[in-house]
């Protein structure tokens, strides 16, 4: 692929944004409802708001990129219904996140699967890389990691226009995690190495590219090709830190689960090229696909991840 092609792909990929749909006053309305009537009141409004949004073709189109791969046989009504369910689940996650911040952590219970394995991996004292994805509610689920008694560091990029708040901002408390900004010096690479050398936990998102295509490799995902970042795997190779694919999902009105799906071991000394990391990124992609099979409406990537696949241009119809 030429550098021009890569630049074009990278530019197109930047179309996804962390900015929220909806105006600030709409978000404030939900926060007010949570204070006045709790979860049920907020959910009631949510059902109506989501229905309104899903009537908009632009909103449905963003759902279809994923849904048409997950449910290829769905008809017109099925696609509409699936878009509603997917958007509704995202809405519930956002409400729950605000709920925890406003009313307290007791509002949500989080069940952790894989606690013993996490402790064993931490005991290796090489640090631990949690590779998450935009699924479930990782912010709430992360609260279940307190038992590790180890600082958690998040690689997180936030846009200036993002009005959506994290739970700790609602609660008016200091962020319980150390944030590493990928736009910082050398993409935060040095800080990430530092964290792992101290034996701490580094949490990164494995399902979206942040910036340069040179930091990504192409792997199969749900019948197409997606570009996923390999920096976490390179860090693991350089430091010896184990990687775990850790995903959260909503299991009930007031409950979530956080599950260790897979441990990925990357051997040391793999070097500079990107191709050597493909097998490990593929392991992650396979795990994410397994998650999507189990929890089809809790995968929250509303952009065309498959934009470099041949068939991707067919997606996006109403």
């Amino acid at each position: 692929m030429s550098s021009g092609d890569k630049q074009a792909r990278s530019a197109k990929r930047q179309k996804w944004t962390s900015r929220s749909i909806g105006a600030s006053w709409q978000h404030q309305s939900f926060y007010l409802l949570i204070r006045l009537g709790g979860r049920r009141a907020a959910y009631l409004l949510l059902y109506l708001v989501v229905f309104y949004y899903v009537l908009l073709p632009a909103v449905r189109r963003k759902c279809y990129y994923y849904l048409e791969r997950r449910f290829p046989q769905a008809g017109v009504w099925g696609r509409f219904k699936n878009s509603y369910l997917m958007t509704l689940d995202l809405g519930k996650v956002l409400v729950d996140r605000a709920l925890v911040g406003i009313l307290g952590a007791d509002e949500i219970t989080v069940e952790l699967h894989g606690k013993e394995e996490l402790l064993e991996l931490l005991a290796e004292r090489k640090g631990l890389i949690l590779v998450n994805a935009h699924v479930g509610c990782w912010q709430v689920a992360m609260s279940a990691l307190g038992f590790m008694k180890t600082p958690v560091n998040l690689l997180m990029q936030r846009e200036a226009g993002d009005i959506d708040r994290h739970y700790f901002e609602h609660a008016g408390i200091e962020c319980p995690y150390r944030i590493i900004d990928p736009r910082g010096y050398l993409g935060g690479a040095l800080e990430m190495i530092d964290v792992l050398k101290r034996g701490e936990v580094l949490s990164v998102m494995g399902d979206r590219m942040l910036g340069d295509d040179r930091n990504g490799v192409d792997v199969e995902f749900m019948g197409g090709t997606v570009t996923l970042p390999f920096s976490a795997y390179k860090l693991a190779s350089a430091t010896g830190a184990p990687i775990v694919a850790l995903f959260s999902y909503k299991t009930g009105a007031d409950s979530y689960a956080l599950k260790l799906y897979r441990t990925i071991r990357v051997p040391g000394g793999l070097g500079r090229g990107s191709a050597v990391f493909v097998p490990y990124v593929r392991e992650f992609a396979e795990t994410l696909e397994e998650f999507c099979t189990e929890h089809p409406f809790q995968f929250f990537n509303f952009f065309d991840m498959w934009q470099n696949s041949v068939a991707s241009s067919a997606v996006g119809r109403d």
Binding site: L186, G188, D194, K197, D212, S231, G271
Partner: protein
């Protein structure tokens, strides 16, 4: 062989810098971005290279950051750590 010379050689070999000779790397050339053209992921590799070839571990990134600017700064950092 001086630290600078060895550093240039291992950078070329371990980072697979094609069509670059040691004497083409200026001592004050920036390692990242414009200059030698290394990127953020190369920084990870660079930390490993320094430890592997010189036995110097860049533990503190606040200290290591100014070191990872040029061949001169990195060589000076390595020499100081080896002397200390």
């Amino acid at each position: 062989m001086s630290v600078k010379e060895k550093l240039k050689r291992v950078l070329i070999e371990d980072l697979n810098l094609e069509d670059v000779e040691p004497d083409e790397i200026d001592d004050d050339m920036a390692l990242f971005g414009e200059g030698l053209g290394l990127d953020s992921l190369d920084a990870v590799e660079l930390v490993v290279i320094v430890q592997k070839h010189f036995g110097v571990e860049i533990k503190d990134m606040e200290e290591g950051r100014p070191a990872l600017q040029t061949i001169n700064t990195l060589a000076k950092y390595i020499e100081q750590r080896l002397a200390g």
